[in-house]
Symmetry: C2
Subunit: 406 residues, 2 copies
Amino acid sequence: MKIAVLGGDGFVGWPTALHLSAKGHDVHIIDNLSRRWIDTELGVQSLTPMDSIQERTRIWHAETGRRIHFHLIDLARDYDVLKGWLAEHRPDAIVHFAEQRAAPYSMKTDRHKNYTVNNNVNATHNLLNAIVEIGIDPHLVHLGTMGVYGYSTIGAAIPEGYLPVGIETMDGDTVTQDILYPANPGSIYHMTKCLDQLLFQFYAKNDGLRITDLHQGIVWGTHTAETKLHPQLINRFDYDGDYGTVLNRFLIQAAIGHPLTVHGTGGQTRAFIHIQDSVRCIELALSDAPAKGDKVKIFNQMTETHRVRDLAEMIARMTGAKIAFLPNPRKEAAENELVVKNEQFLALGLEPITLAEGLLEEVVDVAKKFAYRVDRSRVPAVSAWTKDIAKTVETDPEGKRLKSVS
Amino acid sequence: MKIAVLGGDGFVGWPTALHLSAKGHDVHIIDNLSRRWIDTELGVQSLTPMDSIQERTRIWHAETGRRIHFHLIDLARDYDVLKGWLAEHRPDAIVHFAEQRAAPYSMKTDRHKNYTVNNNVNATHNLLNAIVEIGIDPHLVHLGTMGVYGYSTIGAAIPEGYLPVGIETMDGDTVTQDILYPANPGSIYHMTKCLDQLLFQFYAKNDGLRITDLHQGIVWGTHTAETKLHPQLINRFDYDGDYGTVLNRFLIQAAIGHPLTVHGTGGQTRAFIHIQDSVRCIELALSDAPAKGDKVKIFNQMTETHRVRDLAEMIARMTGAKIAFLPNPRKEAAENELVVKNEQFLALGLEPITLAEGLLEEVVDVAKKFAYRVDRSRVPAVSAWTKDIAKTVETDPEGKRLKSVS
Ligand SMILES: NC(=O)c1ccc[n+]([C@@H]2O[C@H](COP(=O)([O-])OP(=O)(O)OC[C@H]3O[C@@H](n4cnc5c(N)ncnc54)[C@H](O)[C@@H]3O)[C@@H](O)[C@H]2O)c1
Ligand SMILES: NC(=O)c1ccc[n+]([C@@H]2O[C@H](COP(=O)([O-])OP(=O)(O)OC[C@H]3O[C@@H](n4cnc5c(N)ncnc54)[C@H](O)[C@@H]3O)[C@@H](O)[C@H]2O)c1
């Protein structure tokens, strides 16, 4: 298949492009490289030394003989360029990663809120609009997030996308309808993924587009079979307070001898998936396209759930690190349950890599190996969800802000 | 109160601004005058001769001694100007009409789809973002649409915003949660109002903004107590295929001796409200603000429902016009039920003006009076919802396209 990987220079996009290329597909990366610009804006960099996309694709060709093509296009701003590209290349499938994906970054300032809404809504809408306008029929696979559901405290299992709801009619009958699971996003970033869902629902219904939306958990791990082929194919690893997810920041803190900083009680439960499984899920989703006229197909793309404080304890046990509790910069429930259904991917053959088995590799091969590159001042999460919360959360990289260390 | 009326140069915004000014409020209109530019783009004009906003406000002052201030700001593009304005003026309330509001216009071409998404999402998000950034606490009243619900065929009554849903927990208990009534928009325009709903939900939850969302039916009628005070205060009346709603187009067709053109079977049921009632509802909503921390307050702002073919028959009876059936350019169910709850406004004292009593005034005082200004070629609805539908719907102002005339 000819596959366009939008956002293919990013953390999940790059190993996906390699994996699909390795499987024999004709892969085209489209990316505006905005993520690299944001590194520059924030003055941070990937823990792993990361080459330019041009250099990476050159090495992939040298190692495997396979070509991955790169096209510099801003999906959100260059509608006409995108339309022209799609009309010329007519891909069989499109994997859409190209959004601003950090919740803390989306909450930094009013400028960052506007940027995230604009970038994400327009990237997705331009894409849908162009597909209809040109009249092509690719299978569109989008990366959504578990965060569209919010983190409820009622302890119900989250189904894969749809919730059957009984609605009472005027005649007193009850008619059951499948509705999108009610959205309850916790940040501007998560909210844009809820907006995406409605865009997909509309374009599937009105124009018969074939769309799969993957509600992904937090991706952990760095290496995949393909990125391991050459040091310069290495994936990015974000550990800063905006883009670094909780697990990555714990790993780095452990590697530099800093206490693992848990926000609030650490009672937040989150869903996780290894990067290798994420890449495999995308391959599985591509092989299982909905038919024209079907509603959007929704998968929960995650393999296990953990409380943040349990994660901290797991890493503390492995590394001897201490744990510290800080005020939470996010507005969220202190404790929540999270039970997620993921039968669809398991039925398609996914065999999950668990944190328990994979974490040590991350500690040794990534965090410790590249610890010399860490800028400790960038590890704390500094974006507060509201101005009131900002007052309670000062930022102090060296730990004066710690409430208690255990 | 100091009230900002965003989109106050438009069809509902202008009589609202007059009404609130007449009630003694300090009214500021903010508008980018894009609706006048769209008239120019489409080569259409209001049936009623409409003065510039500057002239209209001058006459209002001359007639009543009251001032309405006008500020030319594009909410979607001029975030910084909007923020500066809000910081300086700190309104007590904001009524937000400033969106592209025609479903057919939103479906015209890919450019119009993008414009509608961009304009509406950014106008609403910029506003919310600026309010939080400045730290003001106005009551925000937004005009949404009944169309966020879509037009279901199951015959259930539509509640005012929220649907209680029982969700089964892991323990086997059922917990009831109020969710936003499931969105099922029928056009890009309607979809943007569903996106707005999620923006409001997020900002109410995260930042405690006080928001009322009015899910309005199709507004009919032209005059209000205040617009009648002087000929140059007259409201706009759109009858073209994009902005003219079904009732207005029937009235004009009757006035020029053209058959009333019904799309499909005319079995579509729609909700309606008179402009005088709409203006009154906004006043009532303003007086009934939610408290900080409340969820978004949602009203259904409509007073009666009718099938399109029944409307046509009502006007045919009054005027002697014939009725013609045309292929439907929209993608929608041929027939639908619509039962809408509107107890909240009735409880606040609304006494509806019915079509049965008000329609004759429209026929005589508006449609017949200004019939000499009608451009017959602009009456047909020409925007098709999909490319396939476009093939079946040719546009022929003189009626060759008619399938049958009764
Ligand atoms: N990483 C995770 O843990 C995780 C979890 C759940 C969901 N997701 C989703 O998966 C997708 C990929 O995540 P990631 O971690 O690889 O993010 P990333 O930021 O590393 O990659 C996103 C890529 O998209 C590009 N991009 C952004 N806006 C663009 C635009 N307008 N035009 C062209 N390119 C643009 C960026 O330059 C970047 O290369 C995102 O949509 C994200 O929301 C990620
Ligand atoms: N007219 C109806 O039947 C009806 C029915 C349901 C809901 N509504 C809603 O009520 C509101 C008002 O409807 P209307 O019929 O008065 O529409 P309208 O088009 O006559 O008025 C909208 C006004 O907003 C202005 N505007 C648009 N985008 C703007 C921007 N970015 N910045 C500043 N100003 C901007 C336009 O110039 C115009 O004056 C709309 O939001 C519409 O969706 C209307």
